[in-house]
Amino acid sequence: MAGEGDLKLLGLLVSPFVVRVRMALSMKGVSYEYIEVDVFNKSEILLKSNPVHEKVPVLIHHGKPICESLAIVEYVDEVWGGAAPSILPADPYERAIARFWAAYIDDKLFPAWIGAVKAATEEEKAEKVSQTLAALARLEEAFAKCSNGKAFFGGDTVGYLDLALGCNLFWFETLREMFDVELIDEGRTPLLASWAQRFGEAAAVKDVVPNVDKAVEHAKKMRRMFVH
């Protein structure tokens, strides 16, 4: 389905938040112009589109910018509502639960694992890894409740919460490669381990996941900039 010719996405290839939005657009079969932004040297178009936070992703539809990846995913679901499948659940209560866990992922899980990437000392890294594992343990319980025995958080098909967590998976592989740490592990979080496998194979989303070596490269750049 065409993005009506006037749909742009400002992004960073390895940002999980950008990947999240790309997955949503891919699920809806929407075409768009992707513009890679150098976040270390922010461009004019980014500063104009997101003057408040100066961050990616920014979706620009008919010239109007939309910021914050979860808000963008909801927007995409609403605008291309007719295009199956639906990303958000239909039931208000299930929507609330999905939003709750998505917020948890961004507020608790993300700072923990990115903290591990940026950690200056082994001690700090171990602490951050520990926090990441604790958050994933919570998400394991959440999966048991939300999925109701089905394949995904959203049920039979990939949904909002699957995207919210799934966009982080390639970074978990990156951390495995960089630090030899297994974040989603069959022993500790068996449900998430098998979910991650299924998610990785889902046609709608796998084309937008970047190669792990690109993420490793970016992580090294970040560490050079932020770790002294």
Binding site: H53, I66, E74, V79, R95
Partner: protein, 273 residues
């Protein structure tokens, strides 16, 4: 959703601005509910069961099923009672996305510098904090002025108004306590006018915390004597509670300070977001 036999409970705490946000949303929709006051120093088993992740208020319990986090509760209220009351989120998808964006602006960008201004003890550091807070207020002022509406998204109280709402009573309270203005009519005409309209709006005006109790509840900063530009004699706050602000008293412990604009992060130990 079937509203025939619904039972709605709100677990809250009298001083929490996040709880008021939910009360205002319920009021917009005209929902009847049972309010349960939680003692946050002695959390009920019901609260712990319903919010195992964050253990905080507010929690809305809909037919026994809990929803936590005030922003999420507000969206749930808008979804669940979409058939009545005013719209809390706009209809148009782009406007909805903007509403969600501005709702996040408050805890992420605005509240931290305001809290810093309120709790910094005078001098250059406080001036810098005040300037940082004003910079964010200017962003909001522009947004409100450009919209040209009574409230952020239109003629009635909506998501962004609810998100900002508590600041309408908290900022004047802080200004009174430390004897310094932050939001004046001259500097922020739109915001100033919005504050008055918000506090007088039907869903809000009968659901505000008791201001005197709030002032005396220990919301004072851990102040140094030079902090306030007023003398003890004409301070609005009783000298005895000022004396207790630096060490816990029974009263301070009972009435937890409303961490309205939350410290470094969006969450503190007592209140949900």
């Amino acid at each position: 959703m079937d509203h025939q036999q619904e039972k709605v409970q709100l677990l809250g705490m009298w001083a929490s601005p996040y709880v008021y946000k939910v009360k205002w949303a319920l009021s917009i929709k005209g929902v009847e509910y049972e309010y349960v006051e939680e003692d946050l120093r002695n959390k009920s088993s019901q609260l712990l069961e319903h919010n195992t992740v964050h253990k905080k208020v507010p929690v809305l319990v809909y037919n026994g099923k809990p929803v936590a986090e005030s922003d999420i509760i507000v969206e749930f209220i808008d979804d669940a009672w979409s058939h009545r009351g005013g719209r809390i989120l706009p209809e148009d998808p782009h406007e909805r996305a903007m509403a969600r964006f501005w709702a996040r602006f408050v805890p992420d960008k605005l509240s931290p510098p305001i809290w810093k201004w309120f709790t910094t003890a005078g001098g250059e550091e406080q001036d810098a904090a005040r300037e940082a807070a004003m910079e964010q207020l200017r962003v909001l002022e522009e947004e409100l002025a450009n919209g040209g509406n009574e409230f952020f998204a239109g003629d009635s109280v909506g998501l962004v108004d609810l998100s900002l709402g508590a600041l309408a009573y908290v900022i004047p309270m802080y200004e009174e306590i430390i004897g310094e203005r932050l939001v004046t009519e001259e500097m922020f005409p739109s915001l100033y006018a919005w504050m008055g309209r918000f506090l007088a709006a039907p869903p809000v005006k009968d659901h505000l915390p008791p201001m005197e109790e709030l002032k005396l509840s220990g919301s004072l900063p851990r102040a140094t004597p030079g902090r306030s530009r007023r003398t003890a004699a004409n301070s609005p706050v009783a000298p005895s509670s000022r004396r207790h602000c630096c060490r816990p008293s029974l009263r301070w412990q009972r009435n937890q300070p409303p961490k309205v604009v939350g410290g470094g992060g969006r969450r503190d130990t007592l209140h949900g977001r």
